[in-house]
Symmetry: C2
């Protein structure tokens, strides 16, 4: 089923059909109707492969993220979609599985479709991946993080600042025996940056984390619960728990409440990300909004503008005290 078939059925040239179907150029209403009728009755679906090759235009935007299971990324995609929906562009998602080599492969595959833009999560990539992005000749935006050296444009928050700010908030509120609970994976660069900033923030206040506890595997209520139990058993004196993500913090919170601990008096908790689904826990977890939706929007806007800028858009993570930290 090709343009030609439609053209024959409608008794016009292929070019006319092409014009009608793309609403381009002037076509008389009469022929337009005939063409539409022919296309509809034949069930014609245009071949974008051929169209893209001929026009050298592909209305796709590659989006490379680590995973779809981590709830942060759907939010970013939602932001991207909310902008691209008003353009002819469409996002195409690929996942790197938190693996740089695999990410390189995914980027290569994406670029081989000659998309109109590329959005990639994070600033850490293989040299080859960076080279591809730099030479792609299309707008490229790295998202989520601005602590590092972007290939081109970047939109994100500083995770180092986020960690440092959280440490300051905690210290300001008089907590002194502080533990960090996070993932052992060194592939989560942003969590590592938060930890780095967190240590710095504690140091400013003359503090050091009583413990840094790392888990293998996925975040979850069970993970948060288990880690929390471990830390509180080993260090009963701990008065604050800072988690790498709200998901783990929620598990920890539930554990602490079950044990009848005084929160936020005797023990404070904080997480990271601010997930809406979690509104409704017994206490609202102190957290930092990672601005995911807006990051997606801003990145998509840069792509839609179709300029090869090196602009870096740094958004500020917002501290949300919730109910699990004392007043300052």
């Amino acid at each position: 089923m090709t343009l030609r078939d439609v053209a024959e059925a409608a008794g016009v040239s292929e070019m006319t059909v092409s014009r009608v179907l793309r609403q381009r150029g002037d076509v008389s209403e009469k022929t337009r109707d005939r063409v539409f009728a022919a296309a509809r009755s034949l069930g014609y679906v245009p071949n974008k492969i051929a169209g893209a090759l001929a026009s050298n235009r592909v209305n796709l935007v590659g989006v490379v993220i680590p995973s779809l299971s981590n709830m942060v990324f759907p939010d970013v995609l939602h932001g991207i979609g909310s902008v691209l929906d008003h353009t002819p562009l469409q996002p195409v998602v690929g996942t790197s599985k938190y693996d740089a080599a695999h990410e390189e492969h995914v980027i290569y595959e994406m670029l081989s479709w000659r998309p109109s833009g590329l959005i990639v999560a994070g600033l850490e990539h293989t040299d080859a991946a960076r080279a591809m992005m730099a030479n792609a000749g299309i707008p490229v935006v790295e998202v989520m993080d601005v602590d590092g050296d972007p290939v081109a444009a970047a939109v994100g928050i500083s995770h180092v600042s986020a960690g440092r700010d959280m440490a300051r908030e905690i210290a300001k509120r008089g907590y002194r025996k502080i533990a960090y609970l996070g993932s052992s994976s060194n592939a989560d660069h942003r969590a590592q940056k938060r930890l780095k900033g967190f240590r710095e923030g504690l140091a400013e206040a003359g503090l050091t984390a009583v413990e840094e506890c790392f888990y293998d595997g996925a975040s979850g209520f069970g993970t948060g619960r288990a880690m929390t139990e471990q830390v509180l058993t080993r260090h009963p004196e701990v008065d604050f728990l800072y988690y790498n993500t709200d998901i783990n913090a929620a598990g920890g919170l539930l554990y602490c409440l079950e044990k009848g601990m005084d929160i936020p008096g005797r023990l404070g908790l904080a997480g990271f990300n601010s997930f809406e689904v979690l509104d409704g826990l017994p206490l609202r977890i102190a957290t930092m909004d990672s601005r995911r939706y807006e990051i997606g929007r801003r990145a998509a806007e840069l792509i839609a503008a179709n300029e090869l800028t090196e602009e870096v858009v740094k958004l500020d993570p917002r501290f949300l005290p919730g109910d699990t930290v004392r007043d300052a």
Copy 2:
């Protein structure tokens, strides 16, 4: 940057370069090395648009789902990916936003790229969408649900049965004043089918739901909490709450525990889906495993086999009693 540039740099024909890059046909090791070297040094990325047009092969599988925010779909995608990773095929995701007209549009866009297969969530589509799927000439699999009339192949569970089985489990355990809590959206066909089956199951036991409570907007702990409070206030006699999803059930559970209710003695709860992140709640919620990962796998296997079957794979949802229902 085209094949031709690489060919010139390597001093061979375009055809030879093409063969080397696709590891097809015999090429001497010497020329192979030269071609690879040339391609690498030029940073050549093949143009899949042109390749696809010439070969009439597109190694993409369209996947159309309602949303990425609903945690069920990432699990399905994970199952799909786990199978396609061992093939040359790649999934491309589009979202319908729980809107049939928009789904039709997304399917049209997908098909215009001439993918090798199409996986679509649900059995409810516009007539035009069904026609496109039927005439696409590629393997098409509808997933999640088998209660209805598939266009071609289908892999899923019966949501009617899931609802009915849950009603039976509840009745068997002696609960009698039962409420259903779900979404008011009539776009969630599967939840509606569960409700239908649930009513039937209750009827078998001579029961009718004391209340059916519907919420607008997104599921979440807050939503579950608010609905639960409403229902228990209006109907203090209720002894069982059946939620459309574990997410809402979790919010309800937390509310009930805060109120010091005796669960599962005085009040039982059950949800649907079985989400791993929720392992770690104070009590494990009774639920039914919706087999999402396996659904993804089986669907992808049908696509990878590249046959235009009309096979219907019906998986059985598994009842998981957890801690929030009494023993039978």
